[in-house]
Symmetry: C2
Subunit: 344 residues, 2 copies
């Protein structure tokens, strides 16, 4: 009788399957990739052999032979940010099931951008998907000539390398600031990650300044803080801002996490939001609408961005010529309790 799985005698190859099924290796290969071209009876014998031997084809061998890959390399700025999970889900669905994602976080302490790309390119991915291409022209150059299609997610403010799906960060930043101004607040703080290392943050900041300028409000560079990811960092930033300017009337946090941390800090310290201080987030995460008071934010279509990117990429990889190279999915200002007018 059959069914003696070799538990650890080296991986089962297609040859083993062929022998067991009493056919040539080629027939097995065909049965797997073009079942219709193989006689039904043969196919069944092969299937049986495959499950008896617990055969799993080698992705390497196949991809070496064809030169094509079913891998999509994804580079994210920070794996810890849940916003990206939505994009990945959309991406997976847009791409369809034949592609597999290889995800890499942002460069660690030592690695440069290019090192990360390089180690990913070793797997000859069919495409590279990046969120936040980084600002360095060098990096963009490298990506442009790396030989694989590049999809940029999130930012539409630079000239796309190839495909870009996102929204206008500058306009979004402007909308956020305009809203704070429209509610009667003029002394405004701005909290973001490093503008130098994060192009989207930089663009949101430009938008913030656009709004101030249009409203005739003077820039207060000392009220523009940079920090790193973490709820508590938002609270800290707020403390710092209030130290610099006790008359602070509103803060635009370019991420909901910071805004939520700040909101909770206000609650603990008895700082009245929105009466005394208006707080504006960015991203409209699930928690934003649940906070007390609820958090005003800018909603960006994370899931749709991923999905659209996946769809366009799939088209391009399939050789389609009608591919949308630049897709603006827009954003939405979500007004909630944390920015209700200070005096009605």
């Amino acid at each position: 009788m059959p069914s003696n799985d070799s538990p650890a005698s080296g991986p089962v190859t297609m040859d083993h399957v062929a022998q067991r099924a009493g056919v040539s290796l080629m027939t097995v290969s065909r049965a797997l990739r073009a079942p219709a071209t193989v006689a039904e009876a043969t196919r069944e014998r092969i299937q049986a052999a495959i499950s008896e031997l617990n055969y799993v084809g080698s992705a390497f061998a196949g991809q070496l032979a064809t030169g094509r890959t079913r891998l999509i390399a994804v580079v994210l700025p920070d794996l810890r940010n849940t916003a990206f999970a939505l994009e990945m889900q959309g991406l997976t669905e847009g791409l369809g099931s034949e592609y597999q994602l290889v995800v890499a976080g942002a460069p660690g302490a030592g690695d440069s951008d290019e090192q990360v790309f390089r180690s990913l390119l070793a797997y000859r991915p069919a495409a590279l998907v990046i969120h936040g291409a980084g600002r360095s022209p060098g990096t963009r150059d490298y990506l442009a000539r790396c030989g694989v299609p590049v999809v940029e997610l999130g930012s539409l403010d630079s000239k796309p390398i190839n495909i870009a799906v996102g929204y206008a960060n500058r306009a979004a930043g402007k909308a956020a600031a305009e809203h704070l101004l429209a509610t009667g607040r003029r002394v405004l703080g701005f909290v973001s990650p490093s503008k130098e290392r994060n192009a989207r943050a930089h663009d949101r900041w430009l938008g913030f300044r656009d709004a101030l300028k249009a409203a005739g409000v003077a820039f207060r560079p000392e009220l523009e803080l940079e920090t790193v990811l973490g709820y508590e960092r938002g609270a800290e930033a707020l403390v710092q801002l209030l130290q610099i300017e006790p008359k602070l009337q509103g803060v635009f946090f370019t991420g909901d996490g910071w805004a939520i941390g700040a909101l909770l800090h206000c609650q603990r310290q008895g700082i009245a939001v929105p009466r005394q201080l208006g707080i504006m987030g960015f991203d409209d995460q699930e928690l934003a609408g649940l906070m007390v008071p609820s958090l005003s934010s800018i909603q960006v279509p994370r899931y749709e961005m991923g999905k659209e990117a996946g769809t366009q990429l799939r088209l391009q990889l399939a050789g389609e010529t009608r591919v949308r190279k630049r897709v603006d999915l827009g954003f939405k200002l979500v007004v909630r309790g944390s920015t209700a007018p200070a005096r009605s």
Copy 2:
């Protein structure tokens, strides 16, 4: 002069580098993997050729030839849960820089556990790291005989397949429930993901019941709810529990997200926490300590789990025999405001 990068003329191979450097392909290969065995001058010419051509070796070809892989496959229950990010970070650091992670989310709608494993195994990973092995003996069997070392993260309640790093979920669940009981609460709800599909949730539930039994409190199966990920789901579960039992005194949520959602719901609805209702989370996420009132929780060493798993795995892959097969990293009850005694 050199430096005419072929922008899109097919990938650069080792052969191209060899020709440019005026040596044989073999010498290039050696210069890359055993630099010491190649003459300095030759090595420099090769290095020059590599950077001029922007050569990136093919991971496939190399791994096909050697039979070894530098990939570690990781299967996570849900990519959206930030807790796993910490584990991944620890894992990366424990493994050292020579390994690359291939991450897959839990099976989607259609895919079975085995399908996910299978598609990952096609890449011949050096090892499989899974968080939450699933309860099905069939799956565990499959993993045991799949031919690669398996590392289980998070749960220590079953017999390890190979290496297991985690904490005792049952004991942790018990500790959480005991704490609620110790604060004078006897009418308790329990909220978790599907116990059938999530072994750790099942174990925490057993611990919950252990505690009730030891305290002589009757089981109330109608107060044991199952739900899915999401802050709002926690609020919904609480509403449901209060509908069933208005005299509810406490709830043990097996995830902080639900507990936070419930906490915010109480704040909106004017339900007094902890006076009227005690709320207990699990995982001690950053937000837990920042909530108002702050959330009691069970702290588990996510980062350390990943790191320890990476370290032990690296040892095993390096052929070490002194590998710790079962590492209990423990947990910690963190008592905060949300479970302060109802009556002092």
